[in-house]
Symmetry: C2
Subunit: 184 residues, 2 copies
DNA sequence: GCCCTCATGTAATATGTTACATGATTTG
DNA sequence: CAAATCATGTAACATATTACATGAGGGC
């Protein structure tokens, strides 16, 4: 089976939800996958073209002469197959998360304790904001009475985000303490 | 102050440790920064050239006619300044970690429970391996009696890796349980 | 003699972001 | 009627990986 890149699989997957246009895909990513994935329009539209060229989806264009094109995509049987095959493949490796704060901290001795403290505090604040966002999304999903077939899985990914973020916040607290102990 | 990319700052920082050559930089990254940063040779050598062109480091080449070039780099005063300035800048944003497992899990309803379980188990195994690696590196550093000025900061970054990895493992356990509960 | 580590570098390719261009439709 | 949102798309640029090319020196 011909391999595609992650962006392609992500879009194939999103096309199985109610999102049918490039614009809707972008929204879905920004709203529901933003804690572990993101794609820009610069990738979405070219990839959608590729997907159609490869016969993984059909496009229906509502382009009368007058109004502008609006394209709705729908997976073909082949598209579904490619997606399912990818889902089954074991993931190659856990990605190395590039973390700018840790990079700076690694070279911390070239900086005053005070400034290092500030950086960690900033980071903690950002993590807290993130955590709050996850909680809000989670509540939004659970309140929605009619649970879709996807709901269960979406909550799993949110739970992951929350747990990892929380661990990060705790690390900030511990690190801040240690930095302050050496302050005197 | 002229901005450079993250790769450049990472290399500037590493040049403040004992690593003076492209090869040594690569080793340092693979051994000590691998849990939050990585760079390939394809980036290192061109970036080193840039760093010299910009006057951020000097290069001393031990290139007699006979033996192959070995280049040793040393930061200039300007290089140190650029590094310090970057260290002080607050980080723009926490990066979105692209997580392939979560992406697959998000589309989990298109797959049997059994296969989803397998994926999460695989992921857990990888996290456990990673955790063990961190512990080993940590021990290596703490055993080393003569503690360098950097040691403290390096342990901070390792602690982060351990905490976040541990949270991931706990999430795996919780998710596996939930998936199995619905098995019957 | 062969393999491993040391050591540097480039070219092709892949991937991704940002800025730009365009215009309809809805909402206040 | 102005602003926001809906909607598609491209081009320039930035970043990063992979494969390749080359060769010295040391240990088995």
């Amino acid at each position: 089976m011909k391999p595609y890149n992650h962006t392609t699989y992500a879009i194939l997957g999103i096309l199985t939800t109610d999102c049918r246009s490039g614009y809707a895909i972008k929204q879905m990513i920004d709203q529901s996958l933003n804690h572990f994935w993101k794609i820009s329009y610069g990738q979405i539209y070219p990839t959608l073209k590729l997907i159609v060229d490869e016969g993984l989806a059909n496009v229906r264009s509502t382009a009368d002469d007058s109004r502008p094109a609006k394209n709705e995509y729908e997976l073909t049987a082949k598209g579904h197959e490619v997606l399912k095959n990818w889902l089954e493949e074991p993931i190659e490796q856990i990605p190395v998360e590039r973390n700018e704060l840790l990079l700076k901290l690694f070279f911390g001795r070239h900086q005053s304790n005070e400034k290092t403290l500030f950086q960690v505090e900033e980071y903690k604040r950002k993590l807290e904001t993130r955590y709050a966002t996850y909680t809000a999304i989670e509540e939004g999903i659970t309140k929605h009475k009619e649970k879709g077939a996807d709901t269960k899985y979406w909550l799993f990914t949110l739970d992951y985000g929350k747990r990892v973020t929380e661990a990060g916040i705790e690390w900030c607290n511990s690190t801040l303490e240690q930095l302050m102990d050496e302050e005197e």
